[in-house]
Every structure is written in C-alpha cells, then in structure tokens.
Symmetry: D3
Subunit: 285 residues, 6 copies
Amino acid sequence: MAYQCFTLDIQDKVAHLVLNRPATLNTMHPVLWRELTDILQMLQRDAPARALVISSTGRHFTAGMALDVFGADSGISLNDGNAGGRANIAPQLTDMQQAFNLIEQLRMPVIAAIHGGCIGGGVDMACACDIRLATADAFFCIQEINIGMTADLGTLQRLPKLIPEGVVHELAYTGRRLPAQRALALGLVNEVFDTQELMVEAALQMAREIAEKPPVAIWGSKQAIHYARDHSTHDALQQMGWLQSGIWRTGNLVEAFLAKQQGRAPEFDDLPPLKSFADGSYELK
Amino acid sequence: MAYQCFTLDIQDKVAHLVLNRPATLNTMHPVLWRELTDILQMLQRDAPARALVISSTGRHFTAGMALDVFGADSGISLNDGNAGGRANIAPQLTDMQQAFNLIEQLRMPVIAAIHGGCIGGGVDMACACDIRLATADAFFCIQEINIGMTADLGTLQRLPKLIPEGVVHELAYTGRRLPAQRALALGLVNEVFDTQELMVEAALQMAREIAEKPPVAIWGSKQAIHYARDHSTHDALQQMGWLQSGIWRTGNLVEAFLAKQQGRAPEFDDLPPLKSFADGSYELK
Amino acid sequence: MAYQCFTLDIQDKVAHLVLNRPATLNTMHPVLWRELTDILQMLQRDAPARALVISSTGRHFTAGMALDVFGADSGISLNDGNAGGRANIAPQLTDMQQAFNLIEQLRMPVIAAIHGGCIGGGVDMACACDIRLATADAFFCIQEINIGMTADLGTLQRLPKLIPEGVVHELAYTGRRLPAQRALALGLVNEVFDTQELMVEAALQMAREIAEKPPVAIWGSKQAIHYARDHSTHDALQQMGWLQSGIWRTGNLVEAFLAKQQGRAPEFDDLPPLKSFADGSYELK
Amino acid sequence: MAYQCFTLDIQDKVAHLVLNRPATLNTMHPVLWRELTDILQMLQRDAPARALVISSTGRHFTAGMALDVFGADSGISLNDGNAGGRANIAPQLTDMQQAFNLIEQLRMPVIAAIHGGCIGGGVDMACACDIRLATADAFFCIQEINIGMTADLGTLQRLPKLIPEGVVHELAYTGRRLPAQRALALGLVNEVFDTQELMVEAALQMAREIAEKPPVAIWGSKQAIHYARDHSTHDALQQMGWLQSGIWRTGNLVEAFLAKQQGRAPEFDDLPPLKSFADGSYELK
Amino acid sequence: MAYQCFTLDIQDKVAHLVLNRPATLNTMHPVLWRELTDILQMLQRDAPARALVISSTGRHFTAGMALDVFGADSGISLNDGNAGGRANIAPQLTDMQQAFNLIEQLRMPVIAAIHGGCIGGGVDMACACDIRLATADAFFCIQEINIGMTADLGTLQRLPKLIPEGVVHELAYTGRRLPAQRALALGLVNEVFDTQELMVEAALQMAREIAEKPPVAIWGSKQAIHYARDHSTHDALQQMGWLQSGIWRTGNLVEAFLAKQQGRAPEFDDLPPLKSFADGSYELK
Amino acid sequence: MAYQCFTLDIQDKVAHLVLNRPATLNTMHPVLWRELTDILQMLQRDAPARALVISSTGRHFTAGMALDVFGADSGISLNDGNAGGRANIAPQLTDMQQAFNLIEQLRMPVIAAIHGGCIGGGVDMACACDIRLATADAFFCIQEINIGMTADLGTLQRLPKLIPEGVVHELAYTGRRLPAQRALALGLVNEVFDTQELMVEAALQMAREIAEKPPVAIWGSKQAIHYARDHSTHDALQQMGWLQSGIWRTGNLVEAFLAKQQGRAPEFDDLPPLKSFADGSYELK
C-alpha cells in the first residue's frame, strides 16, 4: 500500500517506517497523522513484523506539528472564546494523543532513529517509542514554548520519566535544544552515531536481533516495563504474575535450549492476529 | 438511520435507545455490539441530544452475550491451547470493554430503564450507565458464573463501586438474582416502578429535566463524579479546579438568574460537536 | 470571641458551632467563610475540645453560597474572557476548597446536625464532616446545577464515596432534593430525628461520648478512616502501622482497664497544642 | 488434625471452620492466631475445598483480642518508651494483619456466619471475609476505642469500603454497637436469620452452591472484585484482561452447556495445589 | 520591603532572592523560614515576576537547619516522651514541609544557583526547585544522618525522582557529599560553572529567557511536569487535556508568529493576581 | 550456622553474605533460594547487624536461575496445558518474588558488590538491593529473553525506576550486556573498582560507615526512599510525618552532638528484635 507521507518496508519480520516528506521537513500534517494511525493499527492487528524502526529523511527527523493547517476548517478549533469550545479541548487532545499511545501499545518494540531536529510534536512521538538512537548532530527541542503554547501531546508526561526532571524543566521553559551527546549521557538516547546511515543500520540490526526472540516474551516484557513505569513496585510485581500466567510458554524455553544445543537459530511462533468481536461478518439469525 | 437491533429516537434533546430484538431476548450479538458502538460514537461526536435513555423490549432487558456465535470464525478466539492466543485475550477484552466505556465517556448522562432480566453482559452495560431505574419484576444476574466463566466486561470492576462488596461477592459466586427491591435498598437502582411504561416515562421525564440544564455543566459534573470514584479526594479536588477552568461559563449563571427573574425557562447552548484533527478533508500541499 | 455569622460554645470538651444568620438563610457569605476558617484553625491548633458539633438556625441549615456578592470586586473573578483569568480558577478553587478540607483535617470528629435545606455549598460542607444527623424534614440539594453551574467545592468529590454513585448522578444532574429518610437508608445520614432539638441534643450527646475516649486514639481512627477511603487496602494497612507507631499509648489502655475495674470514668490526656516552627517569637542572633 | 481453638470439617468440597473456645468467648489468643494461620495456609496450598464457612460457638462470635496475654513476655511489646520499640510497631502490626489478609488471598470464597457479638478483632476478621451472614441478635462493635486504643488490624481499612463512611466514623469514635438489621440495610451483612442453626445451614448451602461452579472462575471473580475495590476502573479493566488470559478455560464453558443439555450437574476440575520453588526436597549436585 | 535573612530584587520580570546571612552560613533559622514563606506567598499572589532565581552568599549555599534554636520554647517540640507529642510530629512536619511545597506550587519556574555546601535542609529546598545550577566546588550533603536523624522535609521524597535511587541510598545512609560534577552527570544539576558570578549570571539569563515566554504557557508546563512525576502516564495525559482547556490562549500563538514575522520580541500578558474569596473587604448586609 | 550455598560473616555490626558455589557459577538453585530466605529472615528478626554486604565468588556474581532443576517434581510447574496450572503461575511467582522483596524490607541497607556476570535472576536480586558497586569487568544481562522467556522476578519492575526506560527496553528485548562503566554513568552502579578485592573492601567500608549511624534513623531513611519511589510526592511527604512520629528519637540527636563535642564516636542503640504475636510459647488457660 502507498502512503503520501511515509514509506513502509517489512523484511525478515522487521518493519521500517520512514517519514518521507523532506521538502516540508516532515512536519506533522493531518494526512501524516491519519496515515501514521492507519499503519500502527495495521501493524498491531496483523503483526506482520516483530519490531518497528522509525526513521526519517531530509534535514530534520521532523519539524513538529504543521501549524499552517490550523484554521477555521481545522479539526481542532482554536476558538477559545466560549466554554463549549474550551471544554472540547480535553477530549480532542485525548484523541490526538491516542496516535502516539498506539506506539506504546504496539505488541512489538519501536526504535526511533533520529537525525537532525526532533522538534515539537516530534519529541512527543519520540518519547512514546521504546528506544531512541541518534546521530551526533541530532537535537531535541520542545518547540511549543517558542511559539507561545504548552506542549500537550505527551512530551511533558513521558519525558520526566525518561530523563531527570530538572533537565525537563529547562527544556520546557526555555525551548533550548538538547544535543545528542547530552541526551546520551542522560539516557534519553541509547547510542549516538556519526552518520544517519550507520544509525539506521544499527537500528535495523537491533530490530533483527529482537525479531529472533519469541514475540510473546518480547511483548510481555514491553507490557511489564510500561506498567512498572506507571505503578508501584507492589502493583507491578502482582501484574507480572497475571501477565505471565497468560503469556508463559514452556515450548519457547525448550526451543531455545534445543536450538542452542543443535547450534541453530531458534524458531518461535509469530503472534496471532488480533480479532475484534464486532468486526466479523456476522449476520443476525 | 435504521438499525437491526435498536431503535433510536431523538426528541426535545433527549435520545431514546431501545434494544429491539425481543425474539432473541435482546442477546448481545456482534451486530448489536457494532451498532451500539456506532450509535454511541455518533451521539458523542455530534451531541444531538443532552441525555440518553436506554430501555428494552420483550421479556428481558437483555439475556446477555449471544454465546452461540462463538466459534471457529468468531472475533474472539476461544482457543486456549497456546500462549499466543491466550496473550491475545487481554487486548481483545480491552476492545470489547471499550463499547461500555463509551457510555461512561459520553458527554451526556445515560439512564438505563431496566425491566425483566438484566443478565450477564447486561449487568456489565447497566453498571456503565449513570443512573438505573427498574420495574418491580426486574432482576440482575451475573450469569457468567452459571455458564462456567468469570464476568469480564466491567461488572466485577464497576459493581463493587456501586453496591456493598459483600453483595457483589454473593452475586458473582452463586449466580443468584438480585431483585429490584433489594437493588433499590442498596442504591444500585434509583427508583422502582410498577410497570415498564411508568418506568420509561419517568426515565424520559428525568432526561428532559437534565436536558433543560446547561450541557457543559452537566458534562462537567459527569466527569467529576467518575473521576472521584477512581481517585483520591486530594486528586479529585485538584482535578475539579482544572476541569472548572475549562468549563466555567459565567453566561450560564447569568441566564439561569435572568430566566428565573423573568419566569421563563432558561436557554443554554448545546455542546459543540467534537472534531478530530485527522478527520478533516485535508490535502497535502 | 464574637463572630458575625456563628456562635461558638465549648463545654465539657465539646465544641458547638452554630450558623447564626437565619435572616439570610445562613448563606455562605465571604465573612462566614473567613470566620469558619478562623474557628477551625483555632480548634485545630489549640484543641480546646475533643469533638465538634455544627448545627444551624432558622429555616435552612444553609442555602449555600451567597452569590449576590460575586461581582467586579469579588475575590473570585467571574471574568472568563481570557486565559489568564481562567487559569486562575484552579488555584482559587483550591483555596476555597481548603476551608472544608480543614474540617476533614481537624484532630477531632465533626458531627453535622442538619435541619431544613442543606443546599449547594452546604452539601460540600456536610460531606466533609465525619457524621451527619438530620431532622425528618431535612433535605440535600446540589443546587449548583439549578443555577447553571457545576458544584466545585467537594460535593462531587466526596459524595460518591458516601452514597451509591447512581444516586449522586441523579442529584447532580437534576438538582432534585434527597430527603432525610432516603439519606438515612443510603447511609449518608446516621440517624433521623423528629425535631431539631432532639437532633442537636443527640449530636451533643454523641460528641460527649466521643470526648470521654482518649483523643489520641480518636484522632488516629479519624486519620485511618480518611486514609483508607482514598488509598488501596494494601497502602492503608501499611499506613496503619506507621500511624500506630506514633500514636500508640500503653497508658491509655491501662487507664481504661483501671477505670473499669474501679467503676469510674477513665481520664485521658488532651492533645497538646500544635506549634509552628516559624511562628515562635524568635530573634536572630 | 486436631486444633485447640477450632474444629475444621471438610465435606463435599466445603470447609467449615468453627471457633470453639466458647468458655473464653472465643477471644483471640495467640494460640488461636497461630492455628488460624496454619489452617488458612493449608487450605490455600492444598485446596481441599472450594468454599469456606467460618462460624462460632457460645455467646459471641468472638470477644476480640485476648488482651490478658499482653505482658512482659508477649510477642508484641507494649513498651512505648523508646524509639526502637515504637519503630517496631509498624512491622509487627503488618505481621499480625497478615493473618486476616490470608482470608482475602484465599483461592476460595469465605463466608462468615456471625451470631452474638462480633467484637474488636472480630470485626477486623469479619471485614476480611467475602460474605457476612448474621443472626438477628448479632452486632458489630469496634471495641478498641472502648479500651483506649485505635483499631489496627484491618477494620478501619476495610469497613469504609463496605459501608458508608459516616457510619464507620460513628462506630469507630463511640464504640457503639451496629445491630444486624442496620448492618443488613447498609449491606455489610447479606442476610439475617432467626437462629444460628438456620444461618449456618444457609451459609453451608451457599458454600455448596459455590462449590458446584468451576473453582478457577470463582477464584478469578474473587481476585477481580478485590482488585477493583483498590484500583481505578481503568486499571481494574486492564487487570481483568491479564487475569482472564491466565484463567480462561473453554472446557468449563463447554462442560456447563453439555451438563445443562444433559440435565446433570456439571463437573469442574479442582484447583491444583500450590507449590513453592524452595520447598521441594532438592539436593545440590 | 526589607528582610533580615534575604535580599529580594525584581528586575525585568525576573525575581532574584538571595540568602543573605553568610556569617551564620545561611542556616535555616525560624526567621528565615518565616520570611521565605512570606516572600513566596507574595510572589505567588501578585506575580510581579515570571521567573525566580535563588542564590546565596558566603561560604555555603546553606548549612541547613539552625538546630541551636530547638529547645523548650521552640515551635517543634523535641519531647518524644508521650504519645500526644509524638502524634503532633506528623502535622507539624506537614506544616514545615509546606514552605518548600510553595516553591513547587509557585506559578513561575524557580532556579537554584548553588555554590559551596548545600547541606541538610538545603537539599530539601534545592530538590523542590525546578532547575539547579552549581559551581564546580558545590556539593550536596544529606547532613541529617550525620547528626543522628532522618531527613524529613522533602529530600527523601523528591531526590529519588531526580537521581537514580542507588545514589540516593548512599547519600542518605552515609552522609557523604555528592560533588557538583557527579551531580551534573546524574542530571541533578543542569550545568556547572567555574565561579559563582558566572553561575548567577547564567541563572539570571535563563530566567530572562523564560520571562520572554507567555507566563500562562510556562505555568501550564510546570503544572504538567510536576503532575506527570507523581501520576501514571494515563492520568497525566488526561490531566493535560483539562489543564489545556483552561490555559489555552490562541492569542499567544498569534502573537508569537506575528512577532517573528515582524522581527520583534513578542509581548505576552502577565498572569493576573490570585484573589481569595474570603480576603476581600466584604461587609455583611 | 553452616549453609551450603553461602557463607555469612558478621563483624562489627556488618553482615557479609557471600554466594559460595563458584563451581556452578552461583546459579540460583532451590537450596540457595531457601537459604537466602532463611538468612534474610534471621537478619530481619534479630538485627545482629546494621548493614549487609552481598558479594560472590568465582567467575560470575551469579549465572541466574538454575533451570536444570525445573522438571516434573519441581516446585514451579512448567505445565502450561490447563487453566488451573496457568492460574497458579501468579501466586507462585508472588511467592518467588518474595525472596527479593525481603531484601527491600530488611531493616538495614543492603549493598551488592558485583563482579563478572550478573545474569538473569541475578539482576532481579541486584535491583532489590539498596546500593550496587561493581568491578570494571562486571556486566548486567537480562538473560531471560535469551532463553525464550520474560523476566518475572523483579527486574522489569525495579530496573525502570533505577535507569532510563529506553535502556531497560534495549536490555530486555535484546539480551545484550550492560557493562559496568555504562551502568555507572547511568547511576545503576554507584562506583566501579579495578579489582574484586578493592570493591569488597569498599563495600564493607561503606557498611561500617552506615553501622556507625543510628539504626533507627537509617531504617527510617530506607523506608522513606522506597515509599517515595512508589508513591506521589504528596503521599510520600505525608508518610514521612507518620514515619517520623514513630522513629524520632531526640536522644540520638543529643548523642551525636555530645560525641562530636567530646571528639569521640557516637553510640546508638541497636534495633530491638522483631517479635511475632503468634510465635511466643503461649498456652491456653
């Protein structure tokens, strides 16, 4: 399938999604928004891959939200003159945030490979990914404050759980750039590369490594880590028990040992597709 | 628009949704599921009404989930033989639960008018409504345990916050029926009526009363009550501040006073429709 | 000390606070607000009593917030035309809510003795008290919705934890009255009396009973109950341990046994006054 | 096995535990404490029954903690004279609370059949049970405040989630008795009986009904209800998914339908015993 | 206004608060405590500035609590010999902690510029600030353990959310010093400077940068970051919606774009002062 | 007492526990599991030491769980073929997790001194310790994913609160090694040493430093830090008040000052042993 803002390539159980509107600095246009949601929902439902790499093209990873489309006919009203419209801001933001929540809910890990500027809405998106790699010239910028508003799509919610809060405060109040090397030192970024090519190759290599593991165990780990971030240790340990009771698979353990013994790569089942009770082609009797 | 399982009637800002498959005891068939979701999303988005009454037809409010449609081609796999399928149970349940969550998230109050049996999935649905009225012969039954399974669509999550936990335990473990009068005494039901006609009329009357109030203030109240149920008093008081800062409308207060002074019914604005950033008919430039 | 809106009487370790502006139906005027705060802070700090009864005079317990004082020079701006003013609503509400939070934080139980109407802000106040008694003609009314706004001083936060949520929804959306007998059945009110005199006497009697117990054990119970309402059972059991480690007093147990053995009333120490580090008359050296 | 303070009888998958020290009003002596813990751990581990009824003998269900054993050589030091001893109160309380937590963690429902006084520690225990039945002459009393201390074994933590908070406050501050009929009206007690015999028979009958259901579905329901009490609806719905992914068993559904079709009682597997990794008779190689 | 322990200077919307009792190493004397509270409340209420820098004088940022003032007449009793006094420790600590909570609640960012020792209570204060800068010779020391007590004014609560827990443990148990460079590497400190002059200038420069942004958007960011630290991502994203519905201001966005277009600095409104309902000069009618 | 898998040495109030099965790479055999639990319970109960160092022998700190003992007669069934067995996974995991929870609950700090590989279950254990030191050649590896399963004994719950989440994701999905130097930079490890001897000596030295402080203040700090990790700042500040009310000891403050004045080491009381109500040698009367 063809997209206007992305290319999507799936090989060897690894999906590679590329932001592909370099002429507009990959700004987040409503079309990009819609396509991203469609792609993530497809990956979630059909599980054609076991890991996802997101990279970009051109000068910047993304310049953030495409504000020029805001206007009288935009999805999100900017009319703040009455309480009804104001009250709608909350559910409409929830709706927009959902696009990045999908990254977090995806049953496979997501690796962001970031070059150039990761700006505004780009930071919201990058924070929702599991792992961030960067080029040496990459930087993060909470651009929202520079254009007079408060970031509201996840940056202020997720970044304080990724890097020390004092740094988040500075970035959020000054709109200054966080360069890749400091991001690496703080642990926001896992590794820094000299060129985008090296970075993307490393991201794909990491994704391939992940794709060799049992998807159900990877998915279980992803769920456990996200749950632990947001809950007490007591609650998270308890959740681990229920989670494991559903995902445990002795066969995977056996296959891992056999494969090692036999000097071959282990083979694990893909995750079955997700089905929806209401989506089947039922007819009333 | 015509539905196979429901009739929907909107008059004087009050929506009346009727389960209308009495021949099958209004069992929850996938088609009913899908139509319910569609209707709730439309009501949420377009806000053509200010209150919703849900009633039913025939012998029972609903006999619960239509289990006969479970099978090889059903949306929800019953195959519990492998870890992949098992692991899918969690997100697939989340997907099903979402239909009833929509009732809770709706920007208008929902009044369930229950006659006869409110059984199995019907209890999950009724618990997600804001207000429950019942006929004298109505009863609630956590039927799931009688067919060998654990209720999983909201009953066990919402009922303990509606009636004393000891009663929930008995209902959940024995599958016994909770009759309307005991439900009234425990506060699960707000009022009990001799006939269905009287009940539905009272429900519509209550809905009309609600429709005369400012929708933004009603919606604010609904959000605050649900939030308080799930959070500490400290957090809920704090949320009230942020919520009020978005929904406060001096004009409504003024209109209420003027109308009273002038001996007329006050007139308040409808909620504006919800828009989605990604749904507009944008084109890339 | 003399108050304009209250009388305060302390006898035998029981404080009796009476709303005493019957001509204005004890509406909550800024002066009443300020005096209430002053009185509660004094009771908290000096602990001249071991239980507090709040009753009222005239036709209604209180008719709620005195809205006629809202205006250009009021403390709380009603100007919702700009974001700065709107943003202030949250901290200003927190400030107002604090008056009723003080009731909850008071180191002694608070018994509300309610006659006639408990309306609007009165419900916010009554819900913050530990125990509610009522006359047969008393009623509760979330009046805010009848004047076009959302209740925001604690009613929507505390009431859902006092009575079943379905009833809260009805009261909040319709502005209907909850009569004393239904309030008794639902447990919002502990007992209903034929006359105000009987009720106030019963409230004072209950307060005297409480005043005979060790204040430190009563205070501990109050803290534990409020904490349990807002936290998980696991967290609340853990808190009980830390709380008890500070308040446990073997001497009280011994005194209770000795007094019983000797056929006399036990005598327990008053709580010592609370001091503030910054309030002493220190001088820099 | 013989116990000093209890009799334990297991028939037809129903366990019946009887407090059997009527001469001492079934006060909670350290020996009773230890035996209760032993019995609950055995029932938890071996699952020889599918439901547990706890009843008692003599004048009172239990007169509460046996305070006469507190002393120089008691397990719990009453020495509050130094910080070390005080600091120990927290973990030592946690240790004592654990006996009643076991009731809540038990993989089968627990029904308390209460006659006469349910006093002090008895209320802590009764609140940890899933269902409470009572005789007409039964009463609940938070006796701790009458002997100068704060209840600390679960009453103040669990009761506010079982009955309206205003009633809990009165009981906790005054030490007054809550009679069975009011407890029934408030939902603390599920049913009231004229005689203890009728009550115990009804409790056993309810237990037998529960024992006919699939134990894994009953246990799942118990876990879900307790979790919902202590968590937000959002978190509880999510937990339901993970829980169900571990306990779902299509076979039980099939068996329930087949049995109904064939006009016979369904047969479900017992829960397998719990094993402990560290308890096997391993030897180092 | 003149203070005994501080100088306060407000220029160009930037407030600069200097601890100015170098002879006593800026120990936290009750007078300092009271003045700090007064100053913060004034800044909060009147919003005469848009950012606050706190720096100090002499050898150390502060040597912590002035313990020499503890005594018979001190605000906080050190008498731990009876339960009443012990029980008071909790509310009295809450009262003291409130001074630093004010820093966190302030509607403008707070930058601590730390030189020399930041000791004992100084760490509690520094952790409550949004951003920390330091000189190369600065160090942090949880001095409390070195004088035999547990830090109780916020260090143990806030530091584990600022730096890795293992480091907090070491500092809290050993009383060792954390030097500026390690604090920088761990993210506790945003930047390290060679001299105090350079640091203070950088702090003021950062504050001026912040003061050029719209105060309502800065305040919104501060609220969102603090909320996210303490709540789940789900709850924090939801709060962002309500928060934004109150603070969103299209005009700021427009002004930012216009100013950029016109090559000038944008101009944004100050936050309006906070008013208190009960503080107006009302008279009863 | 002699152990098969450990040596335990207590000197000068410092306990040193050494994993001592180098021939099997200190894999976590059920016997090791049981002995570890016994030792921790003894240290907790009797408090013969004030700090605990855990180090190891041979090539690796530990190679993780000894999987070869899983089998038909193992404690933890690997049979995932039926719902009963699956349902048991949750409580059985809780039981296993409890061994490491004991480290966290211990009334003294625990310092892990890690050399070589800290693999699989070793990471779960290390994350439960308060402080981690490492040799330059040490590494951490979430080995579970390499053998086809999800780590379930605490790593995924505790590690996201110790190091940035993006790094946790990489380690959990790829099974790659985290070397000591990167662990130091991220704050997982407090210090890195050239040799194991230097590291163990530094660990013991740190433990001796801790042992010189008042144990009750150290324990209070440990409780506060762990509580803060898992709760909101608001809740944690409140807990600090209750905690301090139980552990505050003016005498320790006085002793610290006197000792300093007199140029000698201060002397503080040991924590008294923990007693259990049910463990005394009571007899029924």
